[in-house]
């Protein structure tokens, strides 16, 4: 079952989704394209959705906010005495993210393994994840892969749909919409009012477009033998000269981790004002010196080269070691595209592999 959404009905379809879901979609702002909650009202329509350009940031913050209040507390007193009151978050409302790319969606699959399984499942992430429908926009030539993309290294995306529920493929003046999960099929059944039926011809055209995008990538940036990277990184772990060379241009800012769809580290801070306060969870970045700073004042990763090593090793070695060989890098290229000094994580991996072969 597939559907066809003509371009001129895109905005009204999105507005229609608001009936049942909070809608998050990419919006062009300044030079960037960022995911914003659409809030159409009678007085002002929502800012137009921007699907023609790749988003600058990942949609990660929709499920895992940059900063969220885990709980708030205050001391309260009445005749019975003083006590501490604690306020927790309410259950999330149903939501849909429209127009994230397959790599962004795959980032959520990476996070699911960490935050939704085992003894330490994260209740807030899990609840939001379950309440969210992912409507992925497939990359096609002219609107998708660029020189920084390398999702084909990890099969992120073009025909595989980790974490995606629905796939929109640009095709003949609109989008072919195909559900790829049960959740997606159910969602589409209740939101097909604005849509036409898809047909085989459209489906074939869409599949050909997606294939063309993939072929571009394979030609532009051949994948290394990823099965070797995990052991190569661990073998080269103590090769400080190598990592210093890789890390030399790094400024140790956090652009890469903040735009990454699959970085999931956080820090916790209690902030108080008078008798009330909040426990805040906010994104942390392993490029920041404070990330590993110990209470004693010692910092095991004092140098930026050690921090960048952590980022690369986490993506390509520690995470795969814990999760059946799956890399936590999804190949979206956001870190490469936005790094102020052009640090290229692909080049770093190739360098480690080359050093390991010597």
């Amino acid at each position: 079952m597939s559907y066809f959404l003509p371009h001129d009905r895109l905005e009204s379809w999105l507005d229609d989704l608001e009936r049942t879901h909070r809608v998050f979609a990419p919006t062009a702002e300044g030079r960037g394209v960022v995911f914003r909650r659409r809030k159409p009202t009678a007085e002002s329509p929502a800012a137009p959705v921007c699907l023609e350009r790749r988003p600058t940031e990942s949609a990660r913050h929709v499920l895992f906010p940059r900063s969220e209040v885990l709980l708030a507390f205050r001391s309260a007193h009445d005749e019975s005495g003083t006590r501490v009151e604690v306020f927790e978050q309410e259950a999330p409302a149903p939501q849909v993210i429209v127009g994230l790319r397959a790599c962004d969606a795959k980032g959520f699959a990476v996070m699911d393994r960490v935050y939704m399984h085992g003894r330490y499942a994260d209740p807030l992430y899990t609840a939001r994840r379950k309440a969210t429908v992912m409507a992925v926009l497939a990359c096609v030539p002219g609107n998708g892969p660029d020189n920084a993309c390398f999702c084909h290294w990890f099969a992120s995306g073009h025909e595989e749909h980790d974490a995606a529920d629905i796939v929109l493929t640009p095709a003949s003046g609109g989008f072919l919409i195909a559900p790829v999960s049960d959740k997606g099929a159910e969602f589409m059944e209740s939101h097909a009012g604005y849509l036409e039926q898809g047909n085989e011809e459209l489906e074939n055209a869409a599949a050909a477009q997606r294939l063309a995008a993939r072929e571009f990538l394979e030609k532009h940036c051949p994948a290394p033998a990823l099965s070797k990277t995990e052991t190569a990184i661990m073998r080269q772990f103590g090769n400080s000269m190598l990592w210093e060379t890789i890390g030399e241009p790094c400024l140790a800012c956090g652009v890469c981790t903040h735009l990454c769809p699959s970085c999931y580290c956080f820090t916790i801070t209690d902030e108080t004002r008078g008798n009330a306060g909040a426990r805040i969870r906010s994104w942390d970045t392993c490029l920041n010196a404070g990330y590993t700073l110990e209470a004693s004042g010692h910092n095991p990763r004092a140098a930026k080269a050690q921090r960048l090593k952590n980022r690369i090793a986490h993506k390509f070695a520690y995470y795969p070691a814990l999760h059946m060989g799956k890399s936590s890098c999804v190949g979206c290229g956001k870190c490469i595209r936005s790094c102020p000094v052009g640090v290229d994580i692909r080049a770093a991996v190739f360098r480690v592999l080359a050093a390991d072969e010597e």
Partner: protein
């Protein structure tokens, strides 16, 4: 309901203006009650960011007062302060903040009368401006705490620090 009082933060040097304000009080000079005083060891301690932090956190005005030039207890503190404060005053317009929200001046410990004039004139200046514009902090602690304050149980949120 009209706003009767504005929030004005005063940063006063311990060695002069703080004494001047004290003397004005002891002399029973009538003063507006909008000013909340922070005592500094010297205006040289004045980080220009104090001014912006106060304004962004919701203060309607900021007044800094220290020793007259040549009279600094530490010889030079107010000379450095003069440069920094003049710079920050001229910087405010780029943010869209009215520069009249911030003044700095010099009042000695003996100038109780002058203190009365300064604080009265500055308070009038702030009252002539609309309340300070606020940024929409959907997740801001200010908003969170406002919500907590608005809930039925009384809380004392007026003092920063430990109680």
């Amino acid at each position: 309901m009209p706003i009767l009082e504005r929030r004005i933060i005063g940063f006063l040097c311990n060695w002069c203006s703080y004494g001047g304000a004290d003397a004005a009080g002891v002399s029973r000079f009538t003063q507006p009650t909008d000013l909340r005083v922070v005592r500094l060891p010297c205006t040289g301690r004045m980080n220009p960011i104090f001014v912006v932090k106060a304004l962004l956190a919701g203060a309607d005005g900021v007044l800094v007062s220290g020793c007259h030039p040549k009279d600094c207890h530490y010889s030079e503190g107010n000379y450095y302060a003069r440069r920094r404060l003049e710079v920050i005053k001229r910087f405010l317009p780029v943010l869209g903040i009215e520069p009249l929200r911030f003044e700095y001046t010099w009042v000695s410990a003996a100038e109780a009368k002058r203190w009365q004039e300064v604080v009265t004139a500055f308070t009038e200046q702030i009252h002539a401006l609309p309340p300070v514009p606020r940024l929409p902090d959907d997740t801001g602690i200010e908003r969170l705490l406002r919500e907590l304050e608005n809930s039925p149980l009384p809380i004392c949120g007026c003092h920063a620090g430990h109680e």
